[in-house]
């Protein structure tokens, strides 16, 4: 299906012959499972599906839910694409891929609930092959509008459990990476309470590179060691993470979805959604990758909220719940050991 092939002579730790199909089947199945779970939660709306093809190679299926019982708007995307060469931003990170075709498959999701007490949430798991290199990336992170420590603890603990089944260093490394990646430098704010984020996971086993001096989180650094693992190990880990999403999120959404809210909470939610827009359009690598590779714009920008507002120089009232969000929840915290 693709012109890109792994050059097996270049490495000892190559993927299995059916790596692309297995990765693709998993992310597509994850899209199915998540959509089923979310429709059950929503109780009213159903996902509508668009199938599309990409002129440069490949395609996908975009599913959108709107005007639901819980979700004002949300989308879960699956794609499988290939082409002649990766965009420059990725080649800088993986120069070995230069001159080779690439294959990429993944699922990504953003949900914007109507009730301001239900957090917005994002998930993405992806797999790349290009010439001699392959890697997995992904993660999930939560963006609450109101501060509930038990929700942040539950989201992190559920993902930590998924990680711990595979390696004790995964959660601390990828939690930190998430805090650093989902950061709005121009606001000096975290996007939310974080979760997991990782990229370029391959047999070389470097877990966490931290941001390099140019602000790019994807480069390896001396700060991390290596662990021994192969394609199967990482694929198994990805599956555990992906399947941690529904237990992590449904518990939180069910706790919050019937709480009463007023215009005050709604206005704050609309204001905070502006930060989501700012992050995705200014910083997000997936969005930039999509726009650079002439991706399907409606599927890429499906992550943007249904309604958003900006207000010049807004600042929450000291001591309010909105202020608590800023003071505590928009800064990295050790949520799994939280003693609130």
């Amino acid at each position: 299906m693709s012109t890109a092939t792994i050059d097996k002579s270049q490495q000892t730790h190559f993927p299995p012959a059916d790596s692309r199909d297995r990765a693709k089947n998993f992310v597509r199945q994850l899209q199915d499972e998540i959509c089923t779970g979310l429709e059950e939660l929503d109780g009213k709306a159903k996902f509508q599906e668009d199938n599309w093809t990409r002129p440069g190679g490949g395609g996908g299926r975009t599913r959108v839910i709107r005007d639901g019982g819980v979700f004002e708007q949300g989308g879960v995307n699956f794609s499988e694409v290939w082409g002649d060469s990766l965009p420059p931003a990725i080649l800088t990170q993986r120069p070995e891929a230069a001159g080779h075709g690439f294959f990429a498959t993944g699922t990504s999701m953003v949900l914007h609930p109507r009730n301001p007490y239900v957090p917005t949430v994002h998930l993405n798991y992806r797999y790349f092959e290009a010439g001699p290199v392959w890697w997995f990336g992904g993660g999930a992170d939560l963006t609450p509008y109101y501060p509930f420590a038990e929700d942040a603890v539950h989201f992190h603990k559920t993902h930590k459990e998924a990680c711990d089944k595979h390696h004790p260093e995964y959660y601390p490394a990828f939690k930190k990476w998430c805090d650093e990646y989902f950061y709005l430098k121009h606001r000096q704010e975290a996007r939310g309470i974080g979760g997991l984020f990782f990229d370029y996971q391959d047999y070389r086993g470097k877990l966490y590179g931290g941001p390099d001096p140019n602000g790019d989180a994807a480069k390896y650094s001396d700060r991390v060691g290596e662990i021994s693992r192969n394609w199967e190990d990482i694929f198994a880990f990805i599956q555990s993470c992906g399947r941690a999403f529904l237990p992590a999120y449904l518990t939180i959404a069910n706790r919050r979805k019937d709480m009463e809210w007023s215009d005050r909470e709604r206005q704050f939610q609309l204001y905070r959604r502006g930060r989501y827009v700012e992050f995705n359009l200014v910083y997000d690598r997936g969005t930039v990758f999509g726009l650079q590779t002439n991706g399907r714009t409606e599927s890429i920008l499906m992550s943007l909220p249904p309604l958003t507002r900006w207000e010049y120089c807004y600042s929450p009232e000291a001591g309010s719940r909105e202020d608590e969000l800023y003071q505590t929840f928009l800064k990295p915290q050790d949520w799994v050991n939280w003693q609130g």
Copy 2:
């Protein structure tokens, strides 16, 4: 006031000794004049002013109008900043400025009216000095939500008259540059009906470079000739352009501000405002410059609309006024010779 100085030995066409003060005084006075004219139009709200200083050097005054008779939200900013070096994106365009301090002053404005029949409008005029180089940049462009050809014609004709007083090549070159600059590649749409845009105007007299193959509109190309002019000529041109704004916009706003509108027009306006956000956060050089130079975030993002919405796969009904906007007004047109 600044550590940057023009090295007069490096060029024959240097600016007058008081160039910085004159440029600054002009853009600051333009801010005053525009605010006065807009308050009169609005009839209800007044601009509120914030004075701020920039840690790296300089400062500004930001003026915001909200919940007015005409304007839902809008801002007019003045700034005068200096520092040790220009950001990389500008140095790529003006390598002569490398290793030198810089001085920059300008005024910028974005207005978001409430009535969907009144267009959103943007203006920016700016002046830079850095080592051996100096230049003016700026322009104004109109973003209507509903298609009124007479408004587009008036906006363009008023700016053409201001240009024609200085050089007959100005309007055609800068109208074209505007069409190319305010273009959303990922949507394949113009931001609005354009106006004027230019950058790097100096004694070298290159008027229009067009986008280079990398998509940067600021590089000179062989497609344009040179005209003879000096600092005074360009400064006089900038003043004419800046002072064309009120006559251009007030006529249009007065035509439209009392037209009745319903939820249909409001929803379309909110949707189209999303494109303004996408352009400013993904493509706009002024926004990127501001964020790169640790500018004042609230002043930079003052351009974003008060309320915005995104809708997956929206498409206007064929033959509707919304469709006419897409078919005719979001594509470059020869508005001064329009025979609609």
